[in-house]
Symmetry: C2
């Protein structure tokens, strides 16, 4: 591979001049620029990032840590982050935690090794102990997406999860459902806890009693949701409505309903937080609580790049976006 020295020799200029041309970091004569660019084109020279990073102390790398890119919601996030970073001259490392805090820490360690300039983090837990582990590993500008983490100073960009839960449960209540079953994610993740609290509030708003015995935790997993929902859908006094607190779990619930031989919405209604790109070819098209993913992600990544550039301290702001009810066919009045 050609080095900057080769380019300097070829163009008949000093190394520093080549650097100046490449980075537009100092004024250079048109003639010199032309000669340097010619040499670069002829040799196929590409500056070596490792050397730039080492010398300058800036990596032009951003880390995105998400639960699972196989989940369409996070895939969308990944695409937007990639695009915005690309436009800003940053490269992106995208890593999946699978909701495992230990793996999250390993990923953060790799990010640190790479000296990423900033992190966009959908963390696996929200408690202070996890926050402490995070603080021990993170020393760059960071923004949380989706879930908050206690004991950290970083900004949060997230859905108004309380409203989301309230909207979801409220919808079923308003349709006359009383025996409602909740497929939650995991205790100790703010996304889950707040959405669930929103469900409670929907009951309280209407002067009704919320029963914790109707809540199961499925770790945001489709498989676990399927298993839990199958159990809840059998036997006497089964639920007439199900609230699922995230998209994959909604899929699991829908599968469980099919497997149980029940008809949706005539036998049972389902509403899920998180919308689906292909809702109209699902059976039935699900009623959902949608979040403005693109808008949220764009805000998060541009804020992060701003913080990287400005070196500003995180303000600990919590930016919340309004969820929206999308009515489709999976919810009907209680029989």
């Amino acid at each position: 591979m050609a080095t900057i020295k080769d380019i300097a020799n070829r163009a008949g200029v000093a190394i520093s001049t080549v650097s100046a041309v490449i980075n537009r970091t100092a004024p250079t004569s048109a003639d010199v620029v032309a000669r340097v660019e010619k040499a670069i084109a002829e040799t196929g020279y590409a500056p070596q990032r490792a050397a730039q990073t080492l010398r300058s102390g800036r990596s032009r790398l951003v880390g995105l840590v998400i639960p699972d890119v196989t989940n369409p919601h996070f895939a969308t996030v990944a695409r937007i982050v990639e695009n915005v970073c690309f436009a800003a001259g940053y490269m992106t490392f995208i890593y999946n935690t699978d909701e495992d805090p230990d793996h999250e820490m390993k990923i953060l360690r790799m990010m640190r090794t790479q000296r990423v300039a900033g992190l966009l983090l959908i963390s696996t837990r929200s408690d202070a102990r996890h926050g402490a582990r995070l603080m021990a590993e993170i020393n760059v500008p960071t923004i949380f997406m989706g879930s908050a983490v206690a004991g950290t100073p970083f900004d949060l960009v997230a859905l108004d999860d309380l409203s989301a839960g309230r909207l979801a449960a409220g919808r079923l209540l308003d349709l006359g459902h009383r025996r409602i079953f909740f497929v939650a994610g995991r205790k100790g993740v703010s996304t889950n806890d707040e959405r669930l609290e929103g469900c409670r509030q929907a009951f309280a708003d209407r002067g009704m009693e919320f029963s914790d015995s109707r809540v199961v935790f499925a770790d945001f997993s489709e498989e676990r949701a399927l298993v839990e929902a199958r159990r809840a859908l059998s036997g006497e006094g089964r639920a007439t409505g199900v609230v699922s607190l995230s998209n994959l779990m909604t899929i699991g619930v829908m599968r469980a309903i099919r497997a149980s031989g029940l008809a949706c919405p005539s036998d049972i209604s389902v509403i899920g937080v998180d919308d689906f790109e292909w809702a109209d070819i699902m059976n039935p098209p699900p009623t959902t609580i949608a979040q403005p993913v693109a808008e949220m992600t764009r805000l998060a990544i541009t804020s992060l790049l701003d913080q990287i550039k400005s070196g500003a301290k995180p303000s600990g702001r919590r930016l919340r976006f309004e969820p929206k009810l999308v009515v489709r066919a999976s919810c009907g009045p209680c029989a």
Copy 2:
């Protein structure tokens, strides 16, 4: 941030000893190892990759270039590559081309700047001109996935696309369909061309005539497939069966059918290449030609890592995997 020098001072050893301990590159006494590890733990030291890369000339980075991670098929590929690379001590850069060759070249340029040790590439075109551009930009071990590129020496790991097309079209023919409509991807991509040729062969196998006028090209895009299919589904002599050559286009076709008010499979049958994770809650559950994605991806990435380690020349092998017909509800006998 602490440096290797800080660790050496703290542990009371030479920096080369610290390096030896970290990389297990030379035998070290248990006592020294303990002291070094203590110092590392106390300072939270993480070696700086940029320096390691610069000095050693090895980046421990792999690039994965795919069309779009928002497509579940490629998201699955991404996860497997990430996992295998992680286990092997490599980090992964994942980038999306959106099927745009110019953007593909920009991505490859970035990969080169990063001095990735190897590339897994689902390229955007298969012609020799594109191959030449690729050869000018790539100077590391590379493996193609899915689509081949002429004029390149790299190995290919792919589906037997000819069989896939043959199976798909054959299925509809065997169900008695004669007016079959083909939603293809893009000419000049081997994935598309070979699947389409397979469709032709299915007709030839049965002594029937294949009509090119029944083929539309939708660039592997859901939107374009929707538009094209709507047109084909209206008017006299409309098709009784549709073959879609990739997953997103199958979605587009299914949407078009719903929008046209037709019933599937009673009015029209649909078969698509590529399977769906959530087929059983789709409406109707689609009959598809499935590929062994996980197996293919694992072979591709392990081969790549092998080539990186061994420095072996690419053999230009073309490893093909057998497609499998998955019968569901979207295909019925011709009325």
